[in-house]
Subunit: 475 residues, 2 copies
């Protein structure tokens, strides 16, 4: 395809994208396609000859759009916000257009140095210490694994350079609360620690924050039992209820044993942009690594997950490679992000953050986040005013966790089934999409406000829909 | 930013991209910026207020373009081809425009099912067995790590569900040739095996392929020494010289010990599209995992790395997570790619392969690959015709490894320095970019043909430049 053929097709595609993004509110929020419907529509032998651009665009409209959940809809309250601001979409397009090869500093100095600029910008906007050094990873799962690998190597004095975990005499243990994200367990298993060496720390029954006294006891027991506490993952803004662990207290306990503290604030990190929310993040500067995802609430298109570490030298010792064909005269003077994580090659991910921040400006982003916090408080108050409804976790940010108590129903299993039923009734309307979740054994429904398009009127409409839905499923 | 504001800006950006891609051949191939030049140009306080789109685009032209190596230039022969066909750029733009959330099948059924379709298409186009199941990862480094983790868990009977590698009595060993990519060592270290358990298998001094007899001996010694051979990484198309290990023989040896065989064909995999090249890949269907990167020679924009495995059930056991908030009624019927690798969230990466294959057609891609193979043979013949030049590795594909022997110079260190000097002389012209590399202790210069824009005339011009450069550095 020549640049001129590309120009014509890309202009068409831009109009398609603008039309699509303008119309997301008119579509069912949850994708209603059945398993294999998309596959059947797209399948066939591999294309041997060029097809018309028009037929590809037609499939985008007819197959792809019905086949995705409309996370940009004002009715999207599922999982966590997954915004893709149009400023950041432009940045992602520029990244694709430049199509740089990010393997070393030399292959694309601008890719490396823009990443330094934007990770520093966000560090400053979040009020973090200048001791942090940031890089962009694909997701918080990867960032957590990278942190756990660094922790493993610190705990074992760089065992990777000897016999690895295989040659260690004393098992290294890792701690996280029962409300930590599933990626923490996954990271612990992938890093080779083993499930037997993961300690699930209980949480406070009201706040769902880690019970730090329990952490202290578990660590002491492990040390007494001949094990080495290697890492603690503190969660700020858990997936279930956006609970906040007390990082200051966790760091104090961890420091006694030299354990690494990774702070997973994948969702909540966006709130650090708001000075009035910073208290929730107290103690973060004392941790060893800190990750959060601009690709959630803040709205820089996925994949854009930040990982900050303080001891970059250790990180580089754990992740570096330096084969001859990647050397250049600039080595030693420059940052080589290949040595800060798992992949060698990188997309120009910094571009989407750079476009987003420059074209939107930080202040407009803050205002939007404040709108969402206020909308969540509005919903929480409305729910609390109804005697048969319960807000069943602190509303620290923009996620409101609900349970409905139909008169006369007290059986826990029946109550759990009821929450799942009214959530499904909402989701089946196509007008909104919420996520049921099991938190410490009880099912509740998460209303995670924060899609860029969601205004107070939309939240009010959702609340009406919640009340309709409980009547519908429990007449 | 509203969809209408996006529309206007995106049309401007499309014109900028088309103009940029039309002009790459006029720019210096290697970025000549000095360390921190880009950073200084972009730095400043974080943007508080929105900036004009024009000023962002101006920085693209003035700072970003000079700050990246022009991998799309006809003069790009460095590392490996890093093509980004404009068809695939369109697909990447569509991915950004749809901005789907790929965490589970339910969050974006189309993202999952299109990935099944395109990985099946490429399996078929490569003539692979239908026993393979593919997924898209960011890079071959990640794919190799995923394969090594699966291998680790097979070798240890899923130790991650017990005490991890920490509780294993017999060390598990991993094997790869001295010419394997640096990501193999990195993957072995990150997976926790430890450097002491990585066996670097010697290579044939002429073909640089793994010495399989040595592999057999090393494995037998390890078993005799109380160790367990867990995995072998076979390289097809090494980074140094595109050497091909004998996968059939490696699989035979590995099978004796139940060791996993991962085939890393990151660069060379594109050649499987050509039936006449399939012999180089003989035995691949007997391996346990097989990875290659359409984002290299084939030209689907980075990041697009394929990993095929045969035992998907094992993969899922190693990588799965299933928290309550990610469950849906479709579970069990559908593919959950979150359980096939490290990250939970995924971009709609299948889109770029789907656009590329549909808009270009497989036959046009094959013709381009054949052109590059012929150009490499042309260069090899031209070099061999000159008595002071040496083609110092078999030209299996599109990479030609050269050494120049100036009359009277026999000192190995002086010869090595000379190769680096003439390569640097070429690169400093800005007209072409080649990579020196150290292969089994000797420096050579890699001319890796295969940028989409590179025609025979360009290769002929490079050859003239090579001869000029050796005169310039050794007058």
């Amino acid at each position: 395809m020549t640049p001129e053929e590309f120009r014509a097709a890309a202009h068409e595609l831009v109009d398609w994208i603008a039309d699509y993004r303008a119309s997301v509110g008119e579509r069912p929020v949850r994708s209603e396609v059945t398993p294999d419907w998309v596959r059947a529509a797209l399948d066939g032998p591999p294309p041997e000859d060029p097809e018309d651009f028009a037929s590809v665009v037609r499939d985008l409209s007819d197959v792809i759009v019905p086949g995705v959940t409309q996370t940009h809809s004002p009715g999207y309250y599922a999982w966590f916000p997954s915004n893709a601001s149009l400023e950041s979409v432009l940045g992602d397009m520029a990244s694709s257009g430049v199509a740089a090869l990010g393997i070393t500093w030399q292959s694309a100095p601008a890719l490396t140095e823009m990443e330094q600029v934007v990770t520093d910008w966000l560090r400053e906007l979040c009020g973090l210490s200048t001791e942090w050094h940031g890089a962009i990873h694909d997701t918080a799962s990867t960032a957590c694994l990278v942190a756990l690998l660094a922790a493993r190597e610190r705990a074992t004095g760089l065992s990777e350079d000897r016999g690895g975990l295989q040659a260690e005499q004393l098992p290294v243990t890792v701690y996280a609360s029962s409300q930590a994200h599933s990626s923490v367990t996954k990271g612990v298993l992938l890093a080779g620690f083993g499930r037997d060496n993961l300690r699930v720390v209980p949480v406070d029954p009201v706040t769902y924050a880690m019970d730090v006294d329990a952490l202290r006891r578990m660590m002491a027991e492990d040390v007494a039992g001949g094990r080495r506490p290697g890492a603690v993952v503190a969660s700020l803004g858990t997936t279930g209820t956006t609970a906040f662990d007390d990082v200051t207290a966790i760091v104090d306990v961890a420091r006694t044993h030299g354990a690494w503290v990774h702070v997973d604030a994948a969702m909540a990190g966006s709130a650090m942009l708001l000075p009035e929310c910073r208290e929730l993040f107290r103690g973060v500067d004392g941790a060893d690594s800190f990750g959060w995802n601009p690709h959630k609430w803040m709205g820089t298109i996925l994949d854009c997950s930040l990982l900050y570490v303080r001891d970059v030298e250790l990180l580089i010792r754990v992740f570096s490679t330096n084969p001859s064909y990647l050397r250049s005269t600039a080595d030693g003077e420059v940052t080589q992000y290949k040595d800060w994580g798992i992949p060698l090659g990188r997309r120009f991910r910094a571009m989407k953050l750079w476009f987003h921040l420059r074209l939107a400006g930080a202040e407009a982003i803050r205002q939007r986040l404040r709108r969402d916090l206020a909308n969540a408080q509005w919903l929480a108050r409305a729910v609390q005013a109804e005697s048969d409804w319960e807000v069943c976790a602190p509303v620290a940010l923009q996620t409101v966790c609900l349970r409905h108590h139909p008169p006369g129903v007290t059986d826990p299993a029946a109550l759990d089934a009821h929450q799942q039923a009214w959530a499904e009734a909402i989701n089946a309307t196509g007008r909104a999409f919420v996520t049921p979740a099991q938190v410490e054994g009880r099912w509740l429904v998460r209303v995670s406000i924060g899609a860029e398009a969601t205004e107070l009127d939309d939240v009010a409409a959702l609340w009406a829909l919640c009340r309709e839905s409980v009547r519908a499923v429990n007449p």
